[in-house]
């Protein structure tokens, strides 16, 4: 997975070819939407009166990694947070349009938001470990959702999650220590471990590697590639090389609009839009 050209082809749904075209070409076709793991149509998002997202339509099929790129403030985090309804917690926000996960409308009345968030995990832009022990941080999601039976299974799941997040060797002797005693990068990996522990189906990662050194970053990238065998991963990144290395598809956001979605390979070699090309090549005013 070193270069974008060697990226393995994802398990493609039949309609993948159509998806490689412009987003606006997406038909609101039931069959097509049903094939996608995450399917968004005409999504508008408002912080009070300020519109942060404009008519976003996007499909993400399962078992792929999709990267979101775009300049700071263009709405990547906002969009990510609409997918697990994390924006519900911010007063005065409003959503229009539809988001479906496995064909289920996320914003339909009666949706079990708690269940949704367990299925759609999230790693935040700023690391946010609980002021609890390292072990309790990772075990938190398992405990509240009662996902394990018995102590040994809990221990195993915690170890597995920490190993996957490339943190186990550093913390295995101090699991009872406070999570706040970890370094910034370790805290971020702990938050990744915490999200992985509950084995969500979709994982939203908001710049998970921005505070990590190259070694840890590499481990996380390997993990992401590993995880996509089972999960769907959406990752926000400011690092073009990272997007190129880990993702199968890339979406480019600009001023709250989705400018282009394409296969990562195509995106970084021959994008459809001039704007995308300018951004990727760094020719951006």
């Amino acid at each position: 997975m070193a270069t974008p050209t060697s990226t393995t082809a994802p398990v493609k749904p039949p309609t993948d070819a159509a998806q490689e075209e412009q987003t606006s070409a997406l038909q609101d076709d039931g069959r097509e939407r049903a094939a996608a793991k995450v399917s968004v149509r005409d999504l508008d998002f408002f912080y009070g009166r300020a519109q942060a997202l404009h008519k976003i339509s996007l499909d993400v099929s399962s078992q792929i990694v999709m990267a979101f790129i775009g300049p700071s403030g263009c709405g990547k985090s906002t969009f990510l947070r609409t997918l697990n309804r994390m924006n519900d917690t911010i007063p005065g926000t409003r959503v229009e349009g539809s988001v479906q996960i496995d064909g289920q409308d996320v914003y339909a009345p009666g949706t079990d938001v708690v269940e949704l968030r367990r299925r759609v995990g999230m790693v935040f832009q700023k690391s946010n470990p609980f002021p609890k022990s390292i072990f309790d941080n990772v075990a938190y999601g398992l405990r509240i959702n009662k996902l394990t039976s018995g102590k040994s299974e809990l221990n195993d799941r915690v170890e597995e999650a920490l190993t996957n997040a490339a943190l186990w060797p550093e913390v295995k002797d101090r699991l009872k220590a406070s999570a706040l005693s970890l370094s910034g990068g370790q805290q971020q990996r702990l938050c990744i471990a915490r999200a992985l522990a509950v084995r969500p189906e979709v994982i939203l990662m908001d710049e998970p590697a921005s505070a990590l050194d190259p070694m840890a970053t590499q481990k996380i990238e390997e993990l992401i590639v590993e995880l996509k065998r089972q999960f769907t991963i959406i990752i926000v990144t400011h690092n073009m090389q990272q997007a190129a290395r880990v993702s199968d598809k890339t979406a480019f956001f600009w001023l709250g609009k989705l400018v282009e979605v394409n296969s990562t390979e195509r995106m970084f070699t021959n994008p459809n839009e001039k704007l995308t090309e300018d951004y990727i090549t760094g020719r951006f005013g």
Binding site: N84, M86, T89, P91, V114, E115, R117, R118, R119, G121, M122, F124, K126, N128, P129, F130, P131, K132, S133, Y140, G141, I144, N145, S178, L180, C191, R194, A195, V198
Partner: protein, 283 residues
């Protein structure tokens, strides 16, 4: 262009300002501590001589026959325990409500009421409890005293709890919500533990504050010359006992008032240390 000498003089100025400010704040801190030490020292000086085993365990006796404050110590502990059992959970619950769900109109009314209640003189609360509990029961009681103290505590505890919970960063709540935690589990499992030591400090301050209250007890617990643990009977308390000893014309009782004050301060200190011990940062 700034010359070398200009840069140097700016640096000198900065150093001077910094040391002047450090000295000033240190002097103020020193005064605060000195005043406290003087008060404690003076009370110890006046009170220590009257303290004896008998004084700490006996009930009050007529002038010249000695007597002690044993029943008042027990009474104060009973009253504080009762007030804490009622006032702390109630106050903390109100604080949690205000912080976690307090956006609506009802919450602003609650906030206004608690703020007002904080400012109400405690004697008014005593009279109020006298009217609603003592009169219908036709007797002064430990229960009425506990309620009065609890009412003094509730607004203090509620507002400190609210403030401490608001200090918990949103990102922590979001972290828990994103793992599929329902709101109430986020509150009980993440927010409250993160705010626990702050809430405990607020609770401790409230307990310390009411342990020095006399006025609300005069009309409610009233006072007693006997040992009592029954909640429907009048009960002695250190503050009321100090008051009775202090307003008397006898030197012997004045000495006992000082000694009882010393005991009260020790009690408050003990509460302080205990709570700190149990809420010290483990994580």
């Amino acid at each position: 262009m700034t010359s070398d000498s200009q840069i140097k003089s700016a640096a000198n100025h900065r150093r001077t300002a910094s040391s002047v400010m450090t000295t000033l704040t240190a002097i103020c801190a020193f005064f605060a501590v000195t005043i406290l030490a003087l008060i404690i020292g003076y009370i110890a000086l006046r009170g220590l001589s009257a303290i004896s085993f008998q004084f700490l365990t006996d009930t009050p006796k007529p002038v010249g026959e000695g007597g002690g404050i044993g029943n008042a110590i027990l009474g104060s502990l009973v009253l504080l325990l009762l007030a804490s059992v009622i006032g702390l959970p109630f106050g903390i619950a109100v604080g949690v409500y205000l912080a976690e769900f307090g956006d609506g109109r009802f919450a602003s009314v609650v906030r206004f009421v608690t703020d007002t209640l904080t400012g109400v003189p405690s004697i008014v609360i005593g009279v109020f409890v006298y009217t609603i509990i003592v009169l219908p029961m036709r007797q002064f009681s430990a229960f009425a005293g506990g309620i009065a103290l609890a009412i003094v505590m509730i607004p203090i505890v509620a507002r400190t709890t609210e403030e401490m919970i608001r200090l918990v960063p949103t990102s922590l709540r979001e972290g828990a919500l994103a793992l599929g935690a329902p709101q109430w589990k986020v509150t009980t499992g993440v927010v409250l533990p993160a705010a626990a030591s702050g809430i405990a400090t607020g609770a401790m301050l409230a307990v310390a504050r009411v342990s020095g209250e006399t006025a609300p007890l005069l009309f409610t617990a009233f006072g007693s010359r006997f040992f009592n643990v029954y909640l429907d009977q009048p009960i002695a308390s250190l503050t009321v006992q100090i008051y009775n000893y202090a307003i008397s014309p006898y030197d012997e009782w004045h000495a006992m008032a000082w000694a009882a004050t010393l005991v009260l301060m020790t009690l408050i200190l003990a509460i302080n240390i205990t709570v700190r011990f149990f809420t010290r940062k483990k994580i």
